[in-house]
């Protein structure tokens, strides 16, 4: 390969200079011999978006907090010292101290609780998204590719689930559980949330399977597995990835909503939703008790949705 440095066509074959120029054109940006795939193009596009970097930095920070909360605070989030009950005002100059954001009604450090609450929210968001993408994506792919009665059954089930209100439905499901751990909340939200992904996946698989390159593969004698995983899936994945990233933020806020209503995570677990809920009695005199967990929640949801937006723009060639 390396000794063939001549970039012109092989002599003796007829191909115009125009064709040559057209081939050279798009590869200019990436330098000689370094082709970019469509994913490569998307990455190139992403790198040039400031919003992507804002959300990426935020997400790296949030993931680090979720993984190692002890790095960010020395205070114990469950240590309620009622003498601190009266020290509720935040000490904004005490960076990273236990009293940075003040104390809540039970005298627990709000800063420590915000830090330790990150893990539950991120786990719910990522967990629900992973479950929904796997399950909904698989069903949508099968329905879209095989059509016929499989499609009829899956589509009708999706229609039924689509009729159930997401929050009301998960409240009913969660109400049936007495011990509501993180995985129970994940299961309840995923149970009702998979339909969106299934629909998106189904429609993009239907588009992809009609492409000529799928017919070409069939004409070569390719089997179903090869067609699905080499040809259909890689070309149908982009919309699903976008919907998954954007709805990750929505799942985090759904968890907070459920916890606020007392139906999501329950007390020994630390979550922003629970803190927002317990702050509701103190909000008139001490609005900061709610401000900090709610602010962190909004920031996280913002980061995920912004990332989803940036990924969508980068993966959609029509917007370039």
């Amino acid at each position: 390969m390396s000794e063939l440095t001549d970039t012109t066509l092989v002599p003796g074959h007829q191909a115009s200079n125009a064709e040559l120029a057209a081939a050279k054109g798009p590869s200019k940006g990436s330098g000689p011999g370094k082709p970019r795939s469509l994913w490569g193009d998307a990455w190139y596009e992403l790198r040039h978006r400031p919003l992507f970097w804002v959300s990426a930095v935020l997400l790296v920070l949030l993931l680090t907090i979720a993984a190692f909360p002890g790095l960010f605070t020395g205070a114990d989030p469950r240590d309620g010292d009622l003498t601190n009950h009266f020290l509720t005002k935040p000490e904004l100059s005490h960076f990273f101290q236990a009293d940075w954001f003040g104390y809540d009604v039970q005298g627990r450090s709000i800063y420590a609780r915000v830090i330790y609450g990150t893990r539950a929210s991120i786990m719910v968001g990522v967990g629900v998204t992973a479950a929904v993408t796997l399950f909904g994506g698989l069903l949508g792919m099968l329905a879209g590719y095989f059509g016929g009665w499989i499609d009829s059954i899956v589509s009708r089930i999706v229609d039924i689930f689509f009729g159930l209100p997401f929050l009301l439905g998960s409240m009913v499901v969660l109400n049936a559980f007495t011990e509501r751990k993180v995985y129970v909340v994940i299961a309840a939200l995923a149970f009702l949330g998979w339909t969106t992904i299934a629909r998106v996946m189904r429609s993009s698989v239907i588009t992809a399977k009609q492409a000529d390159y799928v017919t070409a593969a069939r004409a070569l004698g390719a089997g179903t597995t090869r067609i699905l995983f080499r040809h259909v899936l890689p070309n149908a994945l982009a919309p699903t990835i976008v919907v998954a990233t954007i709805s990750l933020g929505a799942y985090i806020s759904a968890e907070a909503t459920l916890s606020y209503l007392g139906l999501g995570l329950a007390d020994p677990t630390i979550s922003w939703g629970i803190d927002i809920s317990s702050a509701k009695d103190a909000i008139r005199d001490n609005p900061h008790v709610m401000l900090f967990p709610a602010g962190m929640l909004s920031l996280t949801v913002f980061a995920f949705i912004t990332l989803g937006d940036a990924v969508r723009d980068a993966l959609d060639p029509k917007l370039r």
């Binding site: 074959h13 191909a15 115009s16 064709e19 798009p26 011999g33 970019r36 017919t215 090869r226």
Partner: protein, 387 residues
């Protein structure tokens, strides 16, 4: 290179085909076992012998009504009884307007669609009834070049993966270590730089993409290539390059082409014989001179009279046949002759009797070029191109 190249180029003269009839007797091979079928498919065919024989091929797409309880209320008769032969080493052009069933014929020959009725014999084996290893052997030997070079290449695969995929599906053709070299050879054969192996389809122009599609079609060393409008999505200047490449490859690899197109001049340029289709049926078939200079079917005459003539002098005296109305729906075709609703010669007989594709009686036994098969009760010669 030597293992890809087959016999050396043979002189391509039209007169071999001029004498051959459209439909010859099928020499069926009774293959009891799968091995025997594969053996028959792999057997070589003499130049000028029929390699692909299509007999009364029918494809009806059912029209259904109702959501839960589907019932058939009719059928789109996309292909309705077509017979022709393809001889080894020749190019058979198939022309016709949009919706006449050309592409369905291609899909049926590729066994991408199941025929409603009729047979397709590849070296005496009916491919519509094959399965398993024998069908794989047929797939290896009949390949296709697609119309749209922008959608026929997977945008997420490199050129090397696209051209190399046939080897992954049929690993017996090339050992694993040999594949990359073969792909580079193929790129070289179709006039692309072998260095492009790691590039993606969107980095190429339309003409180059079609070359990639042709290289993929050549990978398995097929004997028949079905080209479904291979150049109609390309610029006129690039069309000529791709057509010339295809002619060169035909000589080099001893290929037989079925060339489907709606561009009459390109079909004349590349074809040895031409078949004209109208509404799922073959209207007329013969050598390129017979069809273009001595058409006897009114539809062929109308079609040819629409070909633009660049010379204003000769254009003046030319008669243009303008057909009235539209093509009837293939779901409800006219009785008798399909073309009678738009034909200026139509009489009662045309509504009652389906004209057979045969040499017209008035020319039978005579030596004129008009004596070729034409499905018309009132076939007569009319030179529309030169008039």
């Amino acid at each position: 290179m030597a293992d890809i190249k087959k016999d050396a180029a043979v002189d391509r003269s039209d007169d071999v085909q001029d004498a051959t009839p459209n439909v010859t007797e099928v020499d069926t091979v009774d293959a009891v076992t799968e091995e025997a079928a594969v053996e028959a498919i792999e057997a070589p065919v003499e130049r000028g012998e029929p390699i692909l024989q299509v007999r009364n091929l029918v494809k009806h797409f059912p029209l259904t009504q109702g959501i839960l309880f589907k019932r058939q209320i009719g059928a789109v008769k996309a292909v309705d009884g077509i017979s022709f032969d393809l001889y080894q080493g020749e190019t058979l052009g198939i022309v016709g307007e949009s919706g006449c069933g050309k592409s369905t014929v291609a899909k049926l020959l590729m066994t991408l669609e199941t025929a409603t009725a009729g047979e397709v014999f590849f070296k005496g084996q009916d491919i519509t009834k094959l399965s398993g290893r024998a069908l794989r052997a047929v797939r290896r030997n009949i390949q296709m070049v697609f119309q749209d070079p922008y959608t026929s290449l997977n945008p997420r695969m490199t050129v090397g993966d696209i051209i190399g995929e046939p080897y992954e599906i049929h690993p017996e053709v090339a050992p694993k270590g040999d594949r990359r070299r073969r792909v580079q050879e193929l790129l070289d054969v179709v006039g692309l730089n072998p260095e492009y192996i790691n590039r993606y389809p969107h980095q190429f122009s339309g003409g180059q993409r079609q070359r990639i599609g042709i290289a993929r079609g050549l990978a398995l060393n097929p004997e028949v290539i079905i080209c479904d409008e291979p150049v109609s999505a390309l610029d006129v200047s690039v069309q000529a390059q791709v057509i010339n490449l295809m002619e060169k490859l035909q000589d080099e690899f001893n290929l037989s082409y079925i060339f489907i197109a709606h561009d009459l001049s390109i079909v004349r340029h590349i074809s040895d014989r031409v078949g004209v289709m109208y509404l799922g049926k073959m209207a007329e078939i013969g050598s390129d001179t017979e069809i273009y200079d001595h058409p006897t079917h009114p539809y062929t005459q109308a079609l040819l009279s629409a070909v633009p003539v660049p010379d204003p002098e000769s254009r003046e005296g030319r008669e243009r046949i303008i057909l009235a109305g539209d093509v009837p729906s293939p779901a409800n075709p006219p009785s008798g002759c399909r073309f009678r609703t738009r034909c200026w010669k139509a009489e009662d007989k045309c509504a009652k009797e389906v004209p057979l594709l045969a040499v017209p009686e008035r020319f039978a036994g005579s030596d004129t070029p008009a004596a070729h098969e034409s499905a018309c009760h009132f076939a007569e010669e009319k030179d529309v191109v030169h008039a």
